[in-house]
């Protein structure tokens, strides 16, 4: 059982969190003009890094969506920080 840290609530058990995807996977602008390849990359292509990963998580009890750095090898998780902030 991992402990993640919500920027709003502090450290809580991992079962209270919901994975929201890799951070930085920005939605392509341009509506209908986005190429199929760019759109498919946005939907499906993931870096799945070995080591430090920047991820979006939601704390399902307070619904705060935040960015968290997590090491996929050591499982160490840094405290989360709010979207748009720099931590």
């Amino acid at each position: 059982m991992q402990i993640f840290s919500c920027p709003f609530c502090g450290p809580r058990p991992e079962t209270e969190f919901h994975f929201g995807g890799e951070a930085g996977n920005d939605r392509p602008g341009g509506g209908a003009s986005v190429s199929a390849a760019d759109w498919a990359a946005y939907l499906h292509l993931r870096d799945n890094p070995k080591g430090t990963a920047r991820e979006i998580w939601m704390h399902t009890t307070c619904l705060e969506v935040f960015v968290m750095e997590r090491d996929t090898l050591t499982m160490r998780a840094q405290p989360g920080h709010a979207l748009g902030s720099h931590g």
Partner: protein
């Protein structure tokens, strides 16, 4: 084996005899016995059958390492399956049944299997999948496989308990080194939990001689236990630390007599592993015979249970512990011979059929014996270190994998660190712990020589007792090129039994190394995973079983529904009225009555997520497929929410109360996911905009009135709804309480949704039901509502849609063509996959064969080029209420263009014919809405 008790000594209480049965036979023992010691003292030898060859087996160990003898223990009405007889405290009145033998271990029906052993080599099981035919073997293999039997007649007899705990340190293993470590930490002011899987603290001091700080082992132990208590250490016996998990979590399972097990979840600052080491057997022909015991087990039976394992004993050891055991046995008056394999003479084979009767040495000499104690060296119990990611080093002098310091969060000390003498173990403690002073022990020596199984060994040499893996099996694995350690494990099943190879893994690696010209560290170990020993599922479940496993949400009006005789059922997590009345026939009459007069149903679980603020309109435009920003205040619009992949996630009505206030009415089972989805997009895409989202579902109750008499019911209930138009909303009151009336319809009939503060719901319900009865109507359950909605072709997301369904497949393509603003999932709808012309589309189906209801899940089948293809399936099917025939909905390939065609349906071997029609079976022009 003719084991016997000594007249005095040991931990047993000779004034308290006890009796239990084993496979129906009476066994006597004393308070303080384990089942194993009582069985041995009663002269029991053959106590189990091996897993594969059905060989007779006896007790090998004295603790968790026991590979051979497991029993289902029935005690005071409870059954504890798969218990090692060596770790369980004997109880008067218990009934034990040997696992994996039928009818009993002595008379196992399958004992002939051993005669055919050369026909069932490693991988036999896998090979039966290939040829000749697995099904020939399956029944007998299934009957033989498996161990204990769960008593399914008492599913909730003992409910597990769980406890979360915090402390500075957990010390695993209460032997001398664990106790010393706990004392050093506790006396430095730390809070410590010390656990041990044995019945009492002391570890090796309970069976082996030692001098610590000038005291005899027993005396040191007694004063150390006093000091532990004084220092406030929590000492847990019969408690196994079975797993170390992420972020420093350690899990313990505590056995409690007469109570369910207690699972401890602890997150200490540090974990100290003092779990000791496990003795390995020696390899020789027929080394699995009953009467062959681990030497340390023999010592334990002698010292703790005053039990000499035989009249004439042979000890065989490849290390210094043999001498000590010889001394102790002889001083107890036993006749014993030591074979020190380091001096060149080894055991070639054991003699005997049902039990060991003698040994033949490599010199050719024979020695008669009725018990053989073997020691092939020690394997540190490093599981928790390895589970937490720790690396191992090979210690060539000690012939053991030892923890590499600093590679895990677990600090290994004592035997677990490869320190096989107390002096060495104590000396390493201060540096390992960083606090305190360690005790002193008299120096001893531990020297060990290799005694691994070798390629080409004659006879049948067992490596893994529990899974019947022999030297020949490892050789076969090598010949078939399963030489990687993980392949070796899976191919031969070495180490895959419930004992997880505690006494066997290293020998298997050593042999594979010898076969392939690699060293043991080059072969490497398999991955260590929790649990260290089996943990009852009841412990993991804890209190979360039965109705607490997934608690239902309850309606404010549940008492009213119960009073009205409702049958309640779970729908989307809510406990809701299925129907009102004695049986299922009520469903049809409720639906018909609602079509003829009026039906009232509790729609409270319907989602009511408020989206508020100046920028709310722009926001709902983005999250809905349909254009929502043009909605006028006081009006409602039906729409879809999509995922970014363009798949329909939910549908429902959006209500606009005023310019900056919307209510998202999502499906009752999707409230949490829709709420989370809205929040995620608000925070990600509109972080600085004025949008607030609030889920008001639970605080608002909704009662829906539907049918031709709906307006009359409102009047009768004293609710003024004015001339509210279809798809409009407004505020009114009942008894002065605010009430929101929304005219939307999920039935095709004139309908009013009445929403009120949930604690006021009974007032509303009673008034509306009374008025409905005056009009010839009444309450209806969910199942009647399902009939009404299906007749109109109204879908339920997740039932009439699947993970492929786009809005166009449901007949909604205008927003994609017309909507200006970008929205969630838009680009996915123009991808080639979404635009394919052979997509499964929503369609109505009616039986073309006059055979009644079409089965839900039935697949439409078409034969193309001689091959049958599925062209979709039936999603909903009901008897009609407003129409005189069964109705069904389905997702069928090109369904929207095929109205009027007949297709073939297949379901569970049956074939049906169905006609594709419009999904709207009733009132296609919507005249009933204003009837």
């Amino acid at each position: 084996m003719t084991a016997y008790r000594l007249p005095q000594g040991g931990e047993i209480d000779r004034t308290q005899p006890l009796r239990f049965t084993y496979d129906g036979r009476q066994v006597q023992g004393y308070a303080g016995d384990s089942y194993a010691s009582a069985l041995l003292a009663s002269g029991e030898t053959v106590l189990g059958r091996s897993f594969k060859y059905r060989r007779p087996r006896g007790i090998f160990g004295a603790g968790v390492e026991e590979p051979n003898i497991h029993a289902d223990i029935r005690l005071k009405g409870h059954v504890y399956p798969n218990q090692r007889v060596t770790t369980e405290v004997a109880q008067d009145g218990a009934e034990l049944r040997a696992c994996g033998a039928a009818p009993g271990a002595r008379s196992d029906r399958t004992r002939f299997v051993d005669l055919f052993s050369r026909f069932i080599p490693s991988g036999f099981y896998y090979k039966t999948f290939m040829r000749p035919n697995w099904h020939l073997f399956e029944p007998s293999i299934r009957a033989m496989a498996g161990l204990g039997r769960v008593d399914s007649t008492q599913p909730d007899a003992l409910q597990g308990e769980q406890r979360n705990h915090h402390c500075d340190a957990v010390v695993v293993g209460a032997g001398p080194v664990g106790i010393a470590a706990a004392l050093m930490l506790a006396e430095a002011g730390q809070s410590v939990v010390l656990c041990d899987d044995g019945t009492r603290a002391g570890g090796s001091l309970l069976s082996r001689a030692a001098v610590i700080d000038g005291m005899e082992g027993a005396a040191w132990l007694a004063q150390a236990l006093d000091r532990l208590a004084e220092a406030g250490v929590t000492l847990l016996t019969r408690t196994t630390a079975f797993g170390v998990y992420d972020h420093g979590l350690i899990a313990l399972n505590q056995r409690r007599e007469g109570q369910a097990d207690l699972l401890w979840r602890i997150r200490p600052q540090r974990i100290v592993l003092a779990a000791g080491a496990i003795e390995r057997p020696l390899p020789f022909d027929r080394n699995d015979l009953p009467g062959i015991l681990s030497a340390q087990a023999g010592l334990t039976y002698l010292r703790r249970y005053a039990l000499v394992p035989g009249k004439r004993l042979v000890i065989a050891a490849n290390n210094d512990t043999g001498e000590e055991i010889l001394r102790v046995l002889r001083s107890a008056g036993a006749e014993a011979t030591l074979i020190d394999t380091r001096k060149g003479t080894t055991i070639r084979s054991a003699r005997g059929r049902q039990q060991v009767q003698g040994v033949t040495l490599s010199s050719g000499e024979s020695i008669a014996c009725d018990a053989l104690l073997v020691s092939g060296g020690f394997t540190p119990t490093i599981h928790l270190h390895a589970q937490s990611g720790g690396k191992l080093d090979w210690d060539a002098a000690k012939l053991a994998f030892v923890p590499r310091p600093g590679t895990s969060a677990v600090i290994s000390v004592g035997g677990a660190a490869g320190h096989f003498t107390l002096a060495e173990a104590f000396a390493a403690l201060p540096a390992a712990l960083g606090v305190g002073h360690a005790p002193q022990a008299e120096p001893q020596t531990y020297r060990v020589a290799e005694a691994w199984p070798r390629p080409g060994m004659k006879g049948r040499v067992w490596i893994d007792y529990q899974h019947d893996v022999t030297v020949k099996d490892v050789e076969l694995a090598k010949r078939e090129n399963f030489v990687s350690v993980e392949h070796l494990k899976r191919y031969t099943t070495l180490g895959m039994a419930t004992d997880q190879g505690k006494t066997s893994n290293l020998q298997g690696l050593a042999l594979m190394g010898a076969l392939t010209g690699r060293t043991i560290p080059e072969v490497g170990t398999t991955t260590y995973r929790p649990p260290f020993t089996p943990v009852p599922l009841a412990s993991f479940a804890g209190a979360r079983s039965g109705s607490r496993m997934n608690p239902v949400r309850r309606l404010a009006l549940e008492p009213q529904h119960r009073t009205a005789g409702a049958t309640l059922g779970e729908y989307g997590g809510w406990l809701r009225p299925v129907h009102y009345g004695a049986d299922d026939s009520a469903i049809q009459s409720e639906a018909k009555r609602a079509r003829q007069t009026v039906g009232v149903y509790d729609a409270s679980p319907l989602g009511k997520i408020e989206v508020m603020g100046r920028d709310a309109a722009e926001f709902v435009d983005f999250v809905y497929y349909n254009t929502m920003s043009t909605l006028k205040p006081g009006r409602c619009r039906y729409g879809f929410m999509l995922s970014e992949g363009g798949i329909v996630h939910d549908d429902g009505v959006l209500v606009r109360l005023d310019g900056g206030r919307f209510i998202v009415s999502c499906s009752s089972s999707h409230v949490a996911s829709v709420h989370a989805m809205l929040e995620e997009w608000r925070q990600d895409r509109y972080p600085d905009r004025q949008i607030w989202i609030h889920d008001a579902t639970a605080e608002t109750a909704t009662v829906t009135v539907s049918g031709p008499k709906a307006l009359a019911v409102l009047k009768g209930a004293g609710i003024e709804a004015g001339d509210l138009a279809h798809m409009a909303t407004g505020w009114t009151a009942i008894d002065g309480h605010e009430l929101r009336v929304t005219r939307v319809s999920f039935t095709g009939d004139r309908s009013y949704e009445l929403s009120i503060r949930q604690d006021l719901a009974p007032i509303l319900w009673d008034r509306v039901i009374a008025a409905a009865k005056d009009e010839g109507g009444g309450a209806m359950g969910i199942e009647a509502l399902m009939i009404l909605r299906a007749e109109k072709g109204f879908i339920v997301i997740g039932k009439d849609t699947d993970g492929m369904t786009r809005p166009m497949d449901l007949g909604s393509d205008a927003p994609l063509r017309r909507k200006k603003a970008d929205f969630l999932g838009r680009r996915s709808l123009t991808l080639p996959e979404a635009q394919r012309d052979d997509r499964n589309q929503l369609v109505g189906l009616i039986p073309a064969d006059g055979q009644g209801l079409l089965p839900v899940g039935a697949h439409g089948i078409e034969t193309r080029a001689g091959v049958k293809h599925s062209i979709g399936y039936v999603t909903s099917s009901y008897p009609g209420a407003g129409v005189d025939q069964p109705v069904a909905l389905g997702l069928i390939e090109r369904g929207a263009q095929r109205h009027g065609e007949e297709i073939t349906l297949h379901h569970l071997g049956e074939t049906r014919r169905a006609r594709l029609v419009s999904p709207c079976f009733l009132d296609p022009n919507g005249e009933r809405l204003d009837a």
